[in-house]
């Protein structure tokens, strides 16, 4: 099922969707978005690629095994939670630092960002590995 229209559209949409997923993830703390939906959109962009060009191409787009993404995501989320433990507070208590970036202003960084990144990666990994596993099997038959 190779469609020229879909392939052309996918070529432009894939980077846009990928960028959009990162944007959603980053703005999530103040505006609609977040790691969960960001991860889903990133997964959707990859699956669009898989539909248009086939799963092997989509696999090449992702530089890493989706299964490994799951592990990295879970570990990041757990690591973000452990920061609180190391400070002697309950697990998952958030910690924040304020950075002064010259010419850019003030930047607040906190463990929830790392946690959300973990969610992003885990959701992306889970969705893509489930869908690709099913899609690949079907292509093999």
């Amino acid at each position: 099922m190779k469609s020229l229209i879909l392939q052309t559209a996918a070529r432009y949409l894939l980077p846009l969707l990928a960028l959009y997923s990162v944007l959603l993830f980053l703005q999530g703390h103040h505006d609609p978005g977040g790691g969960f939906v960001g991860g889903l959109i990133a997964a959707a962009s990859l699956m669009l690629c898989a539909l248009a060009y086939g799963v092997p191409v989509a696999r090449d787009v992702l530089p890493i095994q989706p299964r490994n993404l799951i592990g990295i995501g879970l570990l990041s989320a757990a690591a973000a939670g452990s920061v609180g433990t190391l400070q002697g507070k309950p697990f998952l208590t958030s910690a924040w630092v304020k950075l002064q970036l010259p010419g850019f202003g003030e930047l607040e960084l906190g463990t929830p960002l790392l946690f959300d990144a973990g969610v992003f990666l885990a959701v992306l990994g889970v969705t893509v590995s489930i869908l690709m596993t099913l899609a690949e099997e079907e292509e093999e038959e």
């Binding site: 978005g33 790691g35 989320a77 998952l92």
Partner: protein, 769 residues
């Protein structure tokens, strides 16, 4: 703090052992031995300072809410055990480095062994009973890994599982007993409980607590009728058997009894049960030893005998008995450790441990034969070995027992006779006589394999020759800790002609006589094998089989494997229970100011309903899926209308991906057809509608509840101030309720792994793989 470091040091180093193995090569065992050796040296400085019942304590809160504190205490009893654990641990590490040389999993072996060491040190240093329980279970887990080290062998796996199930079941009893004790005494700290001892013993729940704790101790220390797991655990590599199943882990139960006897002891229940079980175990162990031809098996049964003796002595509760127990404990650690390691050397050199295949080994392994003889003489209780002192002191304690002394003395003498003959079985039978075929091919094992047992055997001789100098400083503080007051101890070989000495000599003579004719007597003992058919081991097997059967039936009953059944059950339960609650509390709606339905809201609702009908009535799978997607999009439209952009966005993406999932799954589905009859469809329709109605009612009811401030108000207030974010939905997900999210992504990950495994790793039908 120092205590905590000492306890955790082996565990901290454990993960590095595979790495150490890579760099240290065949010296990995010697490197690993450095840790326990350092611990032994560190604690050695306390020898001679704890004689009057002093102790060193460390305490830190762990989970204060449940009274769990990380409190450790070093007193005389702990010190004796710590030195045994670390000292013999160091020796076993060196020995194992030689015994398992070349094994490709040597690194992880030492990792498990060191982790086990932490667990053992934790048990004997724990001051808080819950802390003790944590370390207790940690020994169970690490010993599982060690017993099943050669996990390619089915016997090793079964033995490890048996030991795990038996001791973990006992461990759960112990936990229940400890919690009861904590509730009765109002504390989990052992010293605090001992101060309130009278109140604890008078409490009506005291018997329950005692029985539960005893179950824990008895399973761990292989007391009758839980002794069956110990001989099977000999499937472990010999260094493990020597360390866990002779010197340390099986003594944990004995340690616990000794530790708690000032608190729980002295009552009829305690004395009769502990003494009785100990005495029975003492005799059963020796009798069963004669049913085995495996050198390690015999040693295991003889260890059961010793554990029984120690238990009996602690049950007696007299000062003499406490003394005897500690002396015997030390003596046994020395001679039994040596004998196990000698057996390992024989196994290594002759590739057999079977007495029927081994004889005359002394021609090929003279050094090993000498070591075995030294250790066995101590075991038989021959002057001037330390074992003689041990035997005399426990016979003394039994003779002067406050009650049942004739019976106990008889049992002790019978057991002693059999132990002497057993010593002959492991130290004389394989080494003397004509050279057998297997023995002929043997050779003296490597340096580590004779040097380590030799150290232990010679220590047994030295301690016998200079008991007051070498053994008393260790034993005296331990006895003081059990009895609760300083006990001056005078250890010497010659006490004059006393009843214990006479009994000891009788036991020795009878034992030698029994050994000489053991081949003829064996048939009598073999008769006990028949009893084994009704024995506890058979009960264990039946129990496990029963568990399997029940699990199989229950899984079949609850898990039909049909998604439709699961969905039906879940929906019916939800609708039923929620509906019941609604009828129970009645329908009371709070009148609310309604704004009426705007026209575009009406369109969204109409679209959802219409699409749902199409999905149900459709005769094409594709059409049904698209209709379901429309339902989803309609729902997300409603989210948009009511100010939930985050929800709407997520819903749309999820709908898209779900549709994709359906499309990919289509290829694996058979052609669409309607298989259900009218009645089934009618039932499904009723179920679906009632779920819908119940949920609608529930929502209407829920909006009418306004007794409490909605939690959302709190989130709105503190989102920016506490969590530095304005998007409340996301702040809840990643900060306020981050633990939920962590749980959810973990579940998702498990689902992904499940899908992968089901699709990729299952052999397709027809056998193609």
């Amino acid at each position: 703090m120092d205590l905590l470091v000492a306890v955790l040091a082996p565990l901290a180093v454990a993960p590095l052992m595979p790495l150490v193995r890579r760099f240290a090569g065949r010296h990995v065992g010697d490197v690993a031995a450095a840790i326990p050796l350092a611990i032994a040296v560190y604690f050695a400085r306390y020898v001679g300072t704890l004689g009057d019942g002093q102790s060193v304590a460390f305490r830190r809160a762990w989970v204060p809410e449940i009274g769990l504190s990380l409190s450790l205490r070093l007193d005389g009893l702990s010190l004796l055990f710590v030195l045994l654990i670390s000292g013999i641990g160091a020796l076993v590490c060196v020995y194992a480095g030689g015994y398992l040389a070349g094994n490709r999993r040597l690194g992880s072996f030492f990792g498990s062994l060191l982790a086990f060491m932490t667990a053992m040190l934790g048990i004997v240093l724990a001051e808080n009973l819950l802390t003790l329980y944590v370390f207790w279970e940690f020994t169970t887990l690490t010993s599982f890994l060690l017993i099943s080290f050669e996990h390619e062998r089915q016997a090793a796996r079964a033995a490890a599982m048996q030991a795990l199930l038996t001791t973990a079941a006992g461990g759960l009893c112990l936990l229940a007993g400890v919690i009861l004790l904590g509730l009765i005494g109002g504390s989990f700290e052992i010293t605090e409980l001992i101060e309130r001892g009278d109140a604890v013993r008078a409490h009506r729940l005291y018997p329950a607590a005692v029985i539960l704790i005893l179950l824990g101790a008895f399973t761990k220390s292989a007391q009758f009728p839980f002794h069956y797991w110990l001989p099977n655990a000999m499937a472990a590599p010999t260094p493990v058997s020597a360390y866990l199943h002779s010197a340390t882990m099986v003594k944990a139960g004995v340690y616990l009894l000794a530790r708690l006897s000032p608190l729980l002891g002295g009552t009829d229940l305690w004395t009769v049960t502990v003494t009785g079980v100990g005495a029975v175990t003492m005799v059963v162990g020796t009798v069963l030893a004669f049913t085995s031809y495996d050198m390690k098996g015999i040693l295991a049964y003889l260890t059961i005998n010793v554990l029984g003796t120690l238990t009996m002595l602690i049950g007696l509760g007299t000062e003499l008995a406490a003394e005897a127990a500690m002396i015997y404990l030390l003596a046994h650690a020395l001679y039994k450790g040596a004998l196990f390691l000698v057996t390992g050397a024989v196994d290594h050199a002759a590739h057999s441990r079977d007495l029927r295949e081994l004889s005359g080994l002394r021609h090929r392994m003279p050094l090993t034969a000498l070591i075995a003889a030294l250790a066995a003489l101590s075991m038989a209780g021959v002057v001037p070995f330390f074992g003689f002192l041990a035997k005399e002191s426990y016979l003394h304690a039994v003779v002067e027992a406050p009650r049942m002394w004739p019976l106990l003395t008889f049992a002790a003498v019978v057991a002693s006779v059999l132990v002497v003959a057993g010593a002959g079985l492991v130290a004389v039978a394989p080494f003397f006589g004509t050279l057998s075929e297997k023995a002929d091919r043997a050779h003296e094992a490597g340096f580590r394999l004779w040097f380590v047992p030799a150290l232990l055997a010679v220590a047994g001789l030295a301690a016998g020759l200079l008991p007051q100098t070498l053994a008393a400083p260790l034993v005296e503080p331990a006895v003081a800790a059990i009895v609760g007051e300083p006990v001056p101890l005078e250890l010497k070989l010659w006490h004059g002609v006393t009843l214990p000495l006479v009994l000891s000599v009788i036991a020795l003579a009878a034992g030698v006589a029994l050994y000489v004719s053991h081949e003829r007597v064996r048939s009598v003992f073999d008769g006990t094998r028949v009893l084994g058919g009704w024995g506890p081991a058979a009960w264990y097997d039946k129990g496990v089989t029963l568990l399997d059967v029940v699990a199989h039936w229950q899984t079949g009953f609850l898990q039909s494997g049909f998604l439709r059944t699961y969905v039906t059950v879940i929906l019916a339960m939800t609708a039923g229970l929620a509906g019941l609650m609604i009828t129970h509390f009645g329908l009371t709606f709070v009148e609310r100011e309604t704004i009426g339905v705007r026209w575009h809201e009406g369109i969204a609702a109409g679209l959802i309903v219409a699409a749902a009908f199409v999905a149900v009535r459709s005769t094409s799978r594709m059409r049904a899926v698209v209709a379901l997607t429309i339902v989803g999009f309609g729902v997300s439209w409603i989210f948009v209308l009511f100010g939930g952009p985050d929800l709407a966005m997520t819903q749309i993406v999820v709908e898209t991906l779900t549709t994709l999932l359906f499309v990919f799954a289509f290829y694996r589905l058979p052609k669409f057809s309607i298989l259900s009859d009218r009645a089934t469809r009618f039932r499904d329709a009723v179920l679906a509608s009632s779920v819908g109605i119940v949920m609608t009612l529930l929502i209407l009811l829920a909006t009418g509840v306004d007794q409490y401030e909605p939690t959302s108000e709190y989130y709105v207030r503190s989102s920016v101030t506490e969590a530095h974010g304005r998007n409340i939905v996301n702040v809840i997900l990643v900060d306020f309720r981050a633990l939920d999210t962590l749980g959810e992504i973990t579940v998702l990950s498990a689902a992904a792994v499940g899908v992968f495994v089901m699709v990729r790793l299952v052999a397709p039908k027809g056998g193609r793989s």
